[in-house]
C-alpha cells in the first residue's frame, strides 16, 4: 500500500471515531474501567511488596519474658537468646519493663503517666521484660522461633512476620480476583469495541460496496477500522493512566494515618507509571485490533458485495 493511501486511510479511521462519537466514548469508558482495575491491583501489589521488604529488612522478634524472673534469670535468658543460631547478638537488645513503659508514654504522650500510676501504683508497670532479637536469615524463621520458645523463662513472642503473612494472603487474593476481573473486562471491552466497529461498518456499508466495486483490496477496506480500534485503545490507555494518577494521590492522602502507623513510604506513582502505561497500551491496541479485524473480516467474507450489499 502506498504511503499516501496509508495517510488517507488513517484520516478516514480518525474521522470514523468522531462520526460515531457516542459509541467511541462507550468503548473508551469500558476499556478504561478494566484498565483501571488492573492498574489499581498493580499499585496495591507494588505497595504490599514495599511493606513486606520493610518488614523483612527489620527481621525483628519481640520476646516477652515470664513475670516472676529475677534480674539474674533475665540476664541469663537474654544471653541464651543472643547465643542462639540465626540470632544477631549485636542487634539483640534487652528492654526492661520500665523502658517499655517509657516507650509507650513516648508514643501516647507524657500526660498518660498519671493514669498508669493511678492504675498500677506509682513506679509499677505490667509491661513485661522484653528482648528485642534480630534474625539473620528469615528462611530459618520457624526453627529459630522454636529455639526461642525452648529457652526457659520465655513467655511469648511477637513478630512482624505475622503481618507479612496476612499481607501476602491479601495480595494473592487481590491478584487472583484481579486476573479474573481483567479477563472478564477484557472480553467485555472486546465486544464493545467490536460493536463500535460494526456500527461504523454498517454506517459505511455504501462506502464499502463502492470501494469493492472500484477495486479496493480487503486490506484497504479493513485499514480504517483497524485505525479506529487501535486509536480507541490508545485513548483509553492514556486517559486511564491520568485517572489512576489522580486516584492514587487521593488514596495515599486518605490512607495517611494507616501509612504512618506502618512506617513505610508509599511507592511513588512514577515508579510504576511506565509499566502500567505499557501494559495498558498493549492491552488497548490488542483489544482494538482484534475487535476490528474480527468484525470487518467477518463482514467482508459474508457480505460486502457490490449489487446485493445495500
Amino acid at each position: 500500500m502506498k504511503a499516501r493511501s496509508v495517510r488517507y486511510l488513517i484520516g478516514e479511521g480518525l474521522k470514523n471515531i468522531w462520526l460515531n462519537r457516542m459509541m467511541s466514548i462507550a468503548s473508551v469508558g469500558v476499556l478504561m474501567a478494566s484498565m483501571l482495575l488492573m492498574g489499581l491491583a498493580i499499585a496495591f501489589s507494588e505497595n504490599v511488596d514495599r511493606i513486606m521488604s520493610t518488614i523483612e529488612s527489620q527481621n525483628v522478634v519481640m520476646i516477652y519474658l515470664d513475670d516472676d524472673l529475677s534480674d539474674e534469670q533475665v540476664q541469663s535468658v537474654y544471653e541464651q537468646i543472643r547465643s542462639l543460631d540465626n540470632i544477631n547478638p549485636d542487634e539483640t537488645i534487652y528492654i526492661s519493663s520500665s523502658q517499655a513503659l517509657e516507650g509507650v508514654l513516648e508514643t501516647m504522650g507524657p500526660e498518660y503517666e498519671q493514669y498508669f500510676d493511678a492504675y498500677f501504683g506509682e513506679g509499677n508497670t505490667i509491661l513485661p521484660e522484653t528482648v528485642r532479637a534480630s534474625m539473620i536469615d528469615l528462611e530459618q524463621y520457624d526453627q529459630t522461633i522454636s529455639a526461642i520458645e525452648n529457652v526457659d523463662g520465655v513467655d511469648s513472642y511477637d513478630s512482624s512476620r505475622d503481618l507479612a503473612v496476612i499481607l501476602t494472603t491479601v495480595r494473592s487474593a487481590i491478584n487472583t480476583a484481579g486476573i479474573w476481573m481483567i479477563v472478564l473486562l477484557s472480553l467485555i471491552s472486546l465486544v464493545i469495541i467490536a460493536n463500535t466497529v460494526r456500527i461504523t461498518m454498517f454506517n459505511r456499508k455504501l462506502e464499502i460496496s463502492i470501494m469493492k466495486a472500484v477495486g479496493a483490496t480487503n486490506g484497504f477496506i479493513r485499514f480504517p477500522f483497524m485505525v479506529e480500534g487501535i486509536t480507541l485503545g490508545i485513548i483509553a490507555s492514556l486517559l486511564t493512566v491520568g485517572v489512576e494518577y489522580l486516584l492514587y494521590k487521593v488514596a495515599i492522602r486518605a490512607l495517611e494515618p494507616i501509612i504512618s502507623i506502618l512506617s513505610f513510604n508509599p511507592v511513588p506513582f512514577s515508579n510504576f507509571m511506565w509499566i502500567i502505561l505499557l501494559i495498558f497500551l498493549a492491552l488497548g491496541i490488542i483489544a482494538g485490533l482484534i475487535a476490528s479485524v474480527i468484525t470487518i473480516s467477518k463482514y467482508l467474507r459474508r457480505e460486502g458485495s457490490e449489487f446485493s450489499a445495500l
Partner: protein
C-alpha cells in the same frame, strides 16, 4: 462496431450459472464484446441480465464455460486478482450510490484514493471528469442538493475518473426522468467516442431504439438476439 480485426474485451464461451436455490440464471451463453463497443443488454426482469454483469465483475463465479475480461480468466481468477480486474472497469449504479456525507468532488475522487493516486492527479482527473459530465461548477455541492439526473452524472464521473477500459452501467436511467435519460446516454456515447467500451443494462426499449447501437437480448438465461443498430 464489432469487427473481426478488433480486440475482444469480454468473451463468454459456453457459460452456465445456476444459483444455490436451483435458479438457472444463464445457460450456454456465448458472446464477444470488442474494445470500443457500445452494447445495450436488454431483457425482462429475472432474465439473467444482472447475473451476466455479476459474472463480468466477478461478484458471482461461473459454473461451467469460460469468461475472459480484459485478459483475466474468470474460471481461474484468484481472490487477490479481483481488485485488479475491477480497476479496469467503472461501474454506474441505478441508485447512484453516492456517499451522502461527501461532496461531489470527494465522491468522484473516492476511487482514486483506492488506487493511491496523488493529490495533484486527483485534482486534475476529477476536474476533467466533472467538466465532461457538465458538473464542474457543482464540485462543492452535496448529493442531496442535486437532482436525480445530476446525481447520476456524478456517478458517471466517478466511474470514468480512473480511466477504465470499460464502463458497466446497470440501469443508469432507472431513477431519472425521461429527458435526463437521454442526457445520460448521450454522455455515455461521448465517453464511448473517446475510446471507452460501454456495457449498459436497460429495459427502456424506446431509448435503445433511439440510439443506434448493438443490442444483446437475454431471456430466461439465454441470449435470444444480438443485433447491431438498436434492433431487437
Amino acid at each position: 462496431m464489432s469487427s473481426g480485426a478488433s480486440q475482444p474485451l469480454i468473451e463468454f464461451k459456453g457459460v452456465y450459472k445456476t444459483y444455490d436455490n436451483g435458479t438457472k440464471a444463464l445457460s450456454d451463453v456465448n458472446l464477444r464484446i470488442d474494445k470500443g463497443e457500445f452494447v445495450f443488454i436488454v431483457g425482462p426482469s429475472g432474465s439473467g441480465k444482472s447475473t451476466f454483469i455479476k459474472l463480468i465483475i466477478h461478484e458471482e463465479k461461473l459454473d461451467a464455460g469460460e469468461i475472459l475480461v480484459n485478459g483475466f480468466k474468470m474460471s481461474s481468477l484468484r481472490k487477490k486478482e479481483v481488485p485488479l480486474l475491477r480497476r479496469t472497469m467503472g461501474i454506474v449504479f441505478q441508485d447512484f450510490r453516492l456517499i451522502p456525507t461527501m461532496n461531489v468532488f470527494e465522491n468522484v475522487a473516492f476511487p482514486m484514493h483506492v488506487v493511491g493516486a496523488s493529490k495533484r492527479e486527483i485534482r486534475k482527473r476529477v476536474s476533467y471528469a466533472l467538466n465532461l459530465v457538465g458538473l464542474g461548477r457543482k464540485a462543492r455541492s452535496l448529493p442531496r442538493e442535486l437532482s436525480g439526473g445530476e446525481q447520476q452524472r456524478v456517478g458517471l464521473a466517478r466511474a470514468l475518473v480512473n480511466k477504465p477500459s470499460m464502463i458497466i452501467a446497470d440501469e443508469p436511467t432507472g431513477n431519472v426522468d425521461p429527458n435526463m435519460s437521454y442526457e445520460i446516454v448521450d454522455l455515455l456515447t461521448e465517453i464511448n467516442r473517446r475510446g471507452t467500451t460501454i456495457l449498459m443494462v436497460t429495459h427502456e426499449h424506446q431509448l435503445v431504439r433511439d440510439f443506434d447501437r448493438r443490442v444483446v437480448m437475454i431471456e430466461t438465461g439465454h441470449i435470444v438476439a444480438d443485433n447491431a443498430g438498436g434492433v431487437f
